[in-house]
């Protein structure tokens, strides 16, 4: 017993020590990376972020230097806080708040303490920084927008947030990351790879030498410049036309799928989101719940397509063989179906065939045509699937899967969709008759409509609409060069295109003609509702217009949505015509029309639902 006391204590202590070692080195060792080792100083070199050019080589986005004060909280020691605050022109409360925030992120990793010093402040501070342990100045490059247009396309960059950092460990607190537009779609191309130098420090924070002879250092790789498909002049003109209106314009080059302009109105000057004022401006933009300037309306506004959808009804019916060019109906101004129900028609009554049905936008003609298409099959569900399949082959009802960071699917119903709504399967062509005139369950976005026009202009195929034209030294993704064939035979397109041409020639858009350009288009008017105090209230119709031009060898396909702009030809049609003339001729001759559009403000219309008083619509 006496012999065993020290014996066992020695063994116990040995076990205790090994347990402690295991705890320290194995179980609680949080895989110290070189980045977290505070014996190693990390010096980051942010390479040049790639420039952005428009399709004609005009520089849209460049860079400007910016200087940030960085903090490594745990290395902050023995500093005169008050003196430091007065140097940085901040209050002590700011200091404590930012310090705590940085500490919570990580005591041992750098975070931004104060962003975007002015050049004068930088010159002044850079000499004094050495006095403040745990702080240093980091040079960074900010965006310098050479233009005030295209904010929704160009997007912006901002400091990576916790979520970004978690998702991709490349990013450290204070790094910049694309947050919208091409900055997010082409983030990796534009940003390049930041360089890191690892330097061995001693406990007095002095540099001793390069860590392991620089074996771990990363050489910065500059970002690549990109050229986008946007035509800056057309984009600027589109934004100008959309002033004081809400909505979107999407113009596509049919032969390539390149997006010529992507206007979202109202937008903002991209320079607002650069530098020190960034977050104040961002908050202001973010909080504008009426105009939603940060929402890209050309990509995200889902709406009923209205009459432009009739071209697809016609194409599907031709493909299914239920109508031909000689099929006629007589319109009485009302279309009766399913007993007492009616669809009203504004085409002006008379005999209608495919051509005049399209050019006069006759509801009765398309209701008949749609019913024939669905009733061709014995089973409504089966019929709806066949029809839906034709429509979807134009890129509707699904994401475009392109290089725009946001998008909406829209909705094209199929058989299963209605089977779910009507579990007793008692539905058919009359139940879904609204589809015939682009209402009811059909939902599209402006870019989808523009793509439909591109497919019609191409007589049956389209390329996925995309924004990238060229990446310095790298070819653009193959998927943008892949042709998507619709399910409609080429021969069925000519009569429909002729109808669309006659819309301009003698139909609903006769007053929108552009001298010297053969335009094919279609007006559209979409009812829309919002809830005010829980009550479904109708607002003034959306003005919609789709077009392509010229008729032969089309160069541009366009969709315009003017929210609450009333009937299609009124504002959307005018804007489409002006855009087409601007793009094809480079100049606008329709000065009167231009003035009319520029002077029109729909602001009053947008404020109506918020006024709290009863209001009239469609005036």
């Amino acid at each position: 017993m006496r012999k065993l006391l020290l014996f066992s204590i020695v063994i116990l202590v040995g076990i205790l020590f090994i347990t402690r070692l295991f705890y320290l080195q194995v179980s609680s060792n949080k895989a110290y990376t070189i980045y977290e080792d505070n014996a190693i100083r990390k010096v980051f070199h942010y390479p040049k972020r790639g420039y952005v050019y428009d399709r004609n080589g005009e520089l849209l986005v460049a860079n400007q230097p910016s200087y940030d004060v960085m903090i490594i909280p745990r290395e902050v020691k023995y500093i005169d806080t008050l003196e430091f605050c007065s140097l940085l022109k901040i209050t002590k409360e700011d200091y404590i708040k930012t310090y705590n925030k940085s500490y919570r992120y990580s005591p041992r990793l750098p975070s931004v303490f104060l962003a975007h010093l002015s050049k004068e402040d930088y010159a002044f501070l850079s000499e004094k920084m050495r006095k403040y342990k745990g702080f240093y100045i980091q040079k960074r490059s900010l965006r310098d927008y050479q233009t005030s247009i295209g904010a929704n396309v160009l997007g912006f960059i901002a400091e990576a947030n916790q979520r970004d950092i978690k998702k991709d460990p490349y990013y450290k607190m204070g790094d910049l990351i694309g947050k919208q537009g091409v900055e997010i779609s082409y983030e990796k191309v534009l940003r390049g790879i930041k360089g890191v130098k690892f330097i061995q420090k001693d406990r007095f924070n002095r540099d001793i030498s390069s860590y392991k002879n620089g074996d771990f250092d990363i050489i910065p790789i500059p970002g690549k410049d990109i050229t986008i498909t946007i035509d800056a002049k057309l984009q600027a003109y589109g934004e100008l036309l959309m002033q004081n209106k809400m909505g979107g314009i999407v113009a596509i080059e049919p032969s390539t799928g390149e997006i010529l302009s992507l206007v979202s109105a109202p937008s903002y000057n991209p320079n607002l989101l650069v530098g020190r004022k960034r977050s104040a401006n961002y908050t202001k933009l973010h909080n504008d719940s009426i105009h939603l300037p940060l929402i890209d309306k050309g990509l995200l506004r889902m709406h009923e397509p209205g009459s432009p959808f009739k071209s697809l009804i016609a194409l599907a019916a031709l493909q299914e063989g239920v109508i031909d060019l000689t099929t006629t109906i007589t319109c009485t101004g009302e279309y009766h179906y399913g007993g007492k129900r009616t669809i009203r028609c504004h085409c002006g009554t008379g005999r209608r065939n495919l051509n005049s049905g399209i050019s006069q936008s006759c509801n009765s003609y398309f209701a008949t045509t749609y019913r024939k298409t669905i009733d061709k099959y014995d089973d409504a569900s089966h019929a709806m699937d066949a029809w839906s399949n034709h429509i979807k082959s134009f890129g509707l009802g699904d994401y475009l899967n392109n290089d725009l960071s946001v998008g909406k699917k829209g909705n094209i119903p199929n058989g299963a969709y209605y089977d779910k709504w009507y579990p007793d399967f008692k539905w058919g062509s009359t139940t879904t008759i609204s589809n015939a005139i682009g209402q009811g369950e059909i939902l599209v976005t402006p870019i989808q409509l523009a793509n439909v026009m591109a497919a019609i202009a191409n007589r049956g195929f389209y390329y996925t609409p995309h924004i990238i034209k060229d990446i310095e030294g790298v070819s653009i993704p193959e998927k943008y060069k892949t042709l998507h064939q619709t399910t409609i035979d080429k021969r069925h397109f000519e009569p429909v295109i002729q109808g669309l041409y006659d819309v301009y020639n003698e139909g609903t858009a006769w007053f929108l003609k552009v001298p010297g350009i053969e335009i094919c288009g279609k007006t559209g008017t979409a009812e829309n509702f919002i809830k005010i105090d829980g009550k479904r209230t109708q607002l003034t119709d959306h003005s919609i217009f789709v077009a392509f031009a010229p008729k032969e060898n089309p160069k541009i396909a366009i969709a315009v949505l003017v929210e609450n702009g009333y009937f299609g030809a009124r504002w959307a049609g005018r804007i489409a015509s002006l855009m087409i003339e601007k793009y094809i001729k480079g100049d606008v001759t329709l000065k009167q029309m231009e003035q009319l559009v520029l002077n029109k403000s729909l602001e009053e219309e947008y404020l109506k639902p918020y006024s709290g008083k009863p209001f009239k619509i469609n005036q």
Binding site: K3, L6, V13, G14, R20, F22, Q25, A39
Partner: protein, 426 residues
């Protein structure tokens, strides 16, 4: 080896191999911890690693000396060695040199010598000689007091030189006495006082005394079968209370502020955030850095000369008291465990051999060697890993320093010599 053949004696090679491994691995870590910049030469005698190499050479000479002397002279001259050692400690008060607060060094020419490192050897010899004396009966109070006196003189002298760490090592003799037959009650009392002391500091003396008194009376009235006088428990409770208040008094009044801080940090007594913050920059700083260095080593370590915290000299005193943090950082869990196992094996081996001794002198001496090595090992590594309060004593054979290395070498090899003599007698 020549020695063993010529003189015809056998040494315990296991102990010697363990010794060589510790000294060799120790030097590798001293090299890493004291290297500044690129490796130019292993023999730069202006640097600690170069000097340590000289110390190691010199300790080899000491080993030869120890082996070449007759085993019996250690017993015969134990008293004289002890006296000389005491004199050398007293001499410090006149000729001593003060380094970081402790007056523990003689400076002779370029080298400094720390007599307290040798005093341990002398004291173990003296204790062994006294206990093994035919007239000594360790079970009597009188002889117990005498042995305690033998220990107390050097311990007190060292304490007066302000080297509290080295003083604590003398408590290790308790294990020797216990092995040699002091009553079990001492173990109980020792353990009880340890708990009582810590509790008096952690929970203050008054609550501790009250709780202890209540426990004693509960034991007296409800558990003990044979009822004796009520005076007994009262006396015990009083003694406990006195001890408890005494410890508290000792802590608050006699201990110096930096010693208080170490204990208050260990027992987490310090509540004042500003004081804590300032302690973090001073006492806790070393500990934090050392724990961080160890834990950053991970399972396999960063590799020889690759420890970023060692290169950056983040751990102060790393080549002396904190040498184990270099092991932790550069050799990881595997290397650290290896070192811990080397020490455990060495101490157990010494204990095992001590039990084999036929002469009581050799056995007591061996026990003393094991106890002292164990205390150093426990306190040093425990401190570096943050398990016990900061007490600055070296890690035997490992830490940089001539006196320490020679002291431990003498301590161990005298025992090996004594043991080889046992084999001869066999």
């Amino acid at each position: 080896m020549n020695l063993s053949r010529n003189r015809g004696f056998k040494v315990d090679w296991i102990t010697i191999i363990l010794f060589m491994l510790l000294v060799g691995f120790g030097w590798i870590n001293i090299f890493s911890a004291s290297l500044s910049g690129e490796v130019t030469s292993y023999f730069d005698f202006s640097q600690p690693y170069g000097k340590q190499l000289v110390f190691i050479m010199f300790s080899l000479a000491l080993i030869i000396l120890v082996f070449s002397l007759e085993a019996k002279i250690y017993k015969r001259f134990a008293s004289i060695i002890y006296l000389v050692s005491i004199l050398s400690l007293i001499g410090l008060f006149i000729f001593g040199k003060t380094v970081s607060g402790a007056t523990s060094w003689y400076a002779i020419g370029g080298i400094t010598i720390q007599p307290s490192e040798f005093a341990k050897v002398a004291t173990v010899l003296a204790v062994a000689k006294y206990i093994s004396d035919i007239q000594t009966n360790i079970k009597t109070i009188k002889d117990q007091l005498k042995t305690v006196l033998i220990i107390s003189i050097p311990a007190l002298l060292i304490l007066l030189q302000n080297d509290a760490g080295s003083t604590i090592v003398y408590a290790s003799f308790f294990f020797v006495f216990y092995r040699e037959g002091i009553p079990h009650i001492y173990l109980l009392i020792g353990f009880g006082l340890l708990i009582l002391g810590i509790s008096s500091l952690k929970f203050l003396a008054l609550p501790t005394s009250v709780v202890v008194a209540v426990l004693i009376f509960i034991h007296h009235f409800f558990i003990k079968k044979k009822k004796r006088s009520i005076l007994n428990p009262i006396a015990i409770a009083l003694v406990c209370a006195m001890f408890s208040f005494g410890i508290q008094f000792f802590y608050t009044t006699i201990l110096q502020p930096h010693q208080q801080d170490r204990i208050s940090l260990w027992l987490r007594l310090e509540k004042d955030p500003e004081k804590l913050e300032s302690l973090k920059r001073t006492i806790l700083y070393n500990l934090n850095e050392s724990e961080k260095a160890i834990s950053s080593g991970g399972f396999t370590g960063k590799g020889f000369l690759e420890g970023t915290r060692t290169i950056g000299k983040f751990v102060p005193e790393q080549h002396t008291d904190y040498i184990f943090s270099t092991v932790g950082e550069e050799w990881g869990f595997l290397g650290s465990t290896f070192v811990v196992l080397l020490f455990v094996l060495l101490i157990l081996r010494v204990l095992y051999i001590a039990e084999l001794q036929k002469s009581q002198f050799s056995r007591v001496y061996g026990y003393g060697v094991a106890s002292i090595l164990f205390f150093h090992f426990m306190i040093n590594i425990g401190m570096v890993m943050g398990l016990i309060p900061t007490i600055g004593i070296p890690l035997p054979f490992f830490s940089y320093g001539g006196s320490g290395l020679w002291g431990f070498t003498l301590l161990l090899f005298i025992f090996i010599k004594l043991d080889s003599n046992r084999i001869n007698e066999w």
